[in-house]
Symmetry: none
Subunit: 149 residues, 2 copies
């Protein structure tokens, strides 16, 4: 994989370097350092040992941290791309299916018409027979028993 993406700084929305020196608390979101799973949702009780996850506040200046973030950012990008593509594929599939549907419907129409013609022919024939009832009775045909739909 190419990692060439952007590396630190450089690209951010503002690309600012944002050197997080310290306060970055980015606070943006709060830092759940301990984040016990809250009860609300899953309620997952926290397994034994809770606050030990990472006692360190995790320095955001840490090199390791930056590296991890970078990797995750890439993963996120990748995932989103994939997701987008999938959505597009689905949309395409809808069109494809719609087309196929139309094709099928046309075929049905044709078939129906053909059937109709043939049936008419038979009817005509039946009339003829009725008119000329011939005692010969060699054999008779039992109607195909199939009524219209």
């Amino acid at each position: 994989m190419s990692k060439v993406s952007q590396q630190n700084g450089a690209a951010g929305v503002n690309g600012i370097s944002v050197i997080h020196t310290q306060a970055h608390a980015s606070g943006l979101q709060q830092v759940p350092q301990l984040a016990p799973a809250g009860p609300g949702g899953g309620g997952k009780a926290v397994p034994p040992s809770k606050q030990s996850k990472k006692s360190s506040p995790m320095d955001r200046s840490s090199d390791e941290y930056r590296q991890r973030r970078e990797r995750n950012n890439m993963a996120v990008k990748k995932s989103r791309l994939k997701s987008k593509q999938k959505a597009q594929d689905t949309l395409q599939r809808v069109n494809q299916l719609k087309e196929e549907n139309e094709r099928l419907e046309a075929k049905i129409k044709l078939l129906t018409k053909e059937l109709s013609v043939l049936k008419d022919l038979f009817l005509e024939h039946a009339h003829n027979l009725a008119d000329n009832v011939q005692p010969s009775s060699t054999e008779n045909s039992t109607s195909p028993a199939k009524a219209g739909q």
Copy 2:
């Protein structure tokens, strides 16, 4: 008002209590005040111009700022929800179309079969007629038995 908006979203898997008590105003992300790198991260060069859009530094502590953010966050949430729903609808549509497709195909199959039967019957009759041109000869009908079912 303001207060932190809180997302809970129910789903938040974590549903944590999210503590954001204090102001998160930290500069967490950079300030676009200057040099905005174009979005796109890295690739796009910033379009020419655009540099001082607002002379004011835009205080993130401003009440108005917070209000604006809050509203935008809601809009974002709304938009995303909508988007998600749309995607789901599309997926559903695919299934629907697939079903319809199957139905249509079954119908075609049936129609085709019917047509086939009728055609056979027709052929049989034609033969009879040909043979029977003259009642004198005793023709026999070999039922080709073509019926399958």
